[in-house]
Amino acid sequence: MKTEPFVVNVGPQHPSTHGVFRLRVTLDGERIVDADMIVGYLHRSMEKLAESRTYTQNIPFTDRVDYLAAMANNLAYCMAVEKLAGIEVPPRGQFLRVIMAELQRLANHAMAIGAFLNDCGAFYTPFQWMFREREHILDLFEMAGGARLTVNYMRIGGVSYDIPPEFMPAAQALLKEMPQRISEYEALLMENEILIARTRNIGVLPADLAIASSVSGPVLRGSGVAWDIRKADPYCVYDQLDFDIPVGTRGDCYDRFLVRMEELRQSVHILEQALDMLPGGPASVPVPLALRPPPGEVYARIEAPKGELGFYVVSDGSPHPYRWHIRAPSFINLTPLKDMVVGLTLADAIITLGSIDITLGEVDR
């Protein structure tokens, strides 16, 4: 039977595009025959703005790149500048950074899983449950740095403030609670027949396509590639910590969801060790306000919650970066989107997009 395809603009104002993302899909009935992504609604030209500000002044910008993982962005940028200027961060600062980055991963994955379930049509329940945990983590951020979302916590040479005394007991209490909470989520979500029916073998991303299209983070791991910058290229003190890389075997939405669930557990495990091993001493080294790194170029990367986050910074010896480039995982993870959604129904495409976990602040920058 011959049918007439029609074009639907999913977004920029759509409840499940996680921001101002627009997916232009050509539908034949409900099946997608063509898809094109249109982004840039949130483009702030951060890379240009950063060129006219000093290295320290650029840290708040990184908060706003991926506003759901501000700590990770801070960390990647500070590492890049430290690598450029040859600054060593004291051990306590390193551990604090790891603690914050892993807390941020917990918060981000909580949000990612909750929003993903929302896309699957669960009426906000997993979303709200996940927000309960995220709330505690944001409280911890507030204790440490004074802000909850755009934390601006890390500094070149360490962190802005050492943690207050009430941070440790609160963090310990949270960590004690987390494993059973995660088990609760697993019992509620992983075994849900409808969820499995919706996500199994949907939005399959084969490993070779995943590697070829440069995806990273849980999306790459969901496709069965054991790749994690924390293990492959350890930074801070990750080489002293014990953790595993969760990988899926099928590369479907369910696997990406599983990987995130398991990463929650691994992050808790890392945090338990890091809190135990937290050494004394200064949390940061003094760095001149108008830092003038020697001319050169450097690429520093971390395993951000959404994937490989890298900062490519070129210095010409002045207090401003000459070039400041962000390798944004959300953006690059969208590369295989078209291959993943063509042939699926509109509902599945929404789920697939949700399983990639994008933040539009990071996609558009």
């Binding site: 499940s16 329940t125 054991a226 890389i245």
Partner: protein, 413 residues
């Protein structure tokens, strides 16, 4: 029965109404009581539905709040009970936008007609003994007939909006209706086979007479009816026609202000209708094994109605949504065969019972046990047969790797 049948005996609200009609016929023209009884019935139904909807919307939001580890509306009035009133005022004050390219007439008529099925169903539902507006002797068929009108109104809204999401929603609703009408009617037929009547008050009286509820005799039918009715009234998790995360708001994407409010209220009215049907057909209606002699039957009926509606609320807060084609396959491959078997077994049982003239006290418990076992067994067996519970629908865990670089794609653990 302890019926006093005085006008102040509120266990049957028909008593004061009957008294009033008597007074009317004594003093007025002959046609007056006839018209007045109709008007009183209609007004009573609306008077019950509107406040019910207001309270239930609030209760649903509070309950969903509990399910979702939050508080729910708690600012307007004690425990937030005036939230729905505040929302209604807000909706009334908002602009009801009519976009330029809509089919104006149909666009405006759809939100008005959306109430028709939900309210009309209550005409044949017995609120208590004798408390029924029109005791139609084909009441069960009437339910199915009125329910099918719903899809046309949804289609009117979706098509006239001139919006692609609305059109997709309307398309989904119409296709869902065609599919889910069949198991729905067949399950209702199961009740009819047992009770040998199509009148709803007849069904309730049958349950009263045999001191049993049809839920014990037709457990599978109840579950199937709840699922297919849930699809028809568009409540999450089966809200395929307005699936928020997929097609924004489905057929009412373009509606704003009180026009949207009408759809919202209409959804609840339809939900009440379904809950009332379930309460009457399967849960004994206004009877409660003798309690109805002390407590007004209509209170028992309403209690059951809200209990069934609470089930819908619970489901909404718990389950994710199936995809449209999966939901469609579910009815044809899963529900339809089961309803046919259920109907066949029900018929067979009634035949055995009637032909051999067995005593009801003996056969009904046996039938109840058989049917329950059959319901569980059939569901599990048929699910297995269709491949559920196989390796593809079993939960898995992520593999844990210590080293980087390995590629395990396609390897099953």
């Amino acid at each position: 029965m302890l019926f006093l049948a005085e006008w102040w005996d509120l266990r049957d609200l028909g008593n004061p109404v009957g008294k009033f009609l008597e007074v009317l016929s004594d003093h007025g023209p002959g046609w007056l009581p006839y018209v007045a009884s109709g008007i009183i019935g209609c007004v009573a139904i609306v008077l019950f539905l509107v406040p019910s909807q207001m309270v239930i919307v609030w209760a649903e939001r509070r309950l969903i709040g509990r399910i979702q580890a939050r508080l729910g509306p708690n600012r307007t009035g004690p425990w937030g009970i005036f939230q729905t009133i505040a929302d209604t005022i807000k909706l009334l004050a908002k602009e009801a936008i009519t976009t330029r390219h809509v089919d104006r007439w149909v666009f405006w008529l759809a939100p008005i007609f959306i109430f028709v099925p939900g309210i009309t169903v209550f005409a044949v539902l017995p609120f208590g003994e004798g408390m029924v507006l029109a005791d139609l002797n084909v009441g069960v068929l009437f339910l199915a007939a009125v329910g099918s009108i719903n899809a046309i109104i949804v289609f009117m809204a979706g098509w006239s909006s001139n919006n692609k999401y609305a059109l997709l929603g309307a398309m989904r609703e119409v296709s869902m209706l065609i599919s889910y009408e069949i198991p729905q009617v067949l399950t209702l037929l199961g009740a009819v086979v047992f009770t040998n009547t199509m009148s709803l008050s007849g069904v309730v009286q049958w349950q009263d007479h045999y001191n049993t509820w049809l839920v014990f005799l037709q457990p599978l039918a109840l579950v199937i009816y709840l699922i297919s009715a849930g699809v028809e009234i568009n409540r999450s998790p089966t809200d395929i026609a307005e699936a928020e995360s997929e097609i924004v708001a489905g057929y009412h994407t373009e509606y704003s202000g009180i026009k949207f409010g009408f759809f919202y209220a209409g959804e609840y009215f339809a939900g009440f209708a379904i809950a009332a049907v379930v309460a009457s057909l399967y849960l004994g209606g206004w009877t409660f094994w003798g309690l109805e002699e002390w407590v007004p039957g209509w209170l028992i009926f309403l209690g059951k109605l809200y209990l069934v509606f609470w089930l819908f609320i619970w489901l909404r807060g718990t389950l994710p949504r199936l995809r449209a084609d999966q939901l469609m396959a579910f009815t044809w491959k899963f529900l339809l065969p089961l309803t046919l078997v259920n109907l066949f077994v029900g018929g067979l049982e009634v035949l055995i019972w009637q032909e051999n003239d067995l005593s009801a006290g003996l056969v009904l418990p046996v039938f109840a046990i058989i049917n329950l076992a059959l319901a569980v067994g059939l569901t599990v067996a048929w699910a297995r047969f269709l491949g559920h519970g196989g390796p593809d629908s079993r939960p898995r865990r992520a593999l844990l790797m210590k080293e980087v670089g390995a590629i395990v794609y396609g390897q099953e653990p």
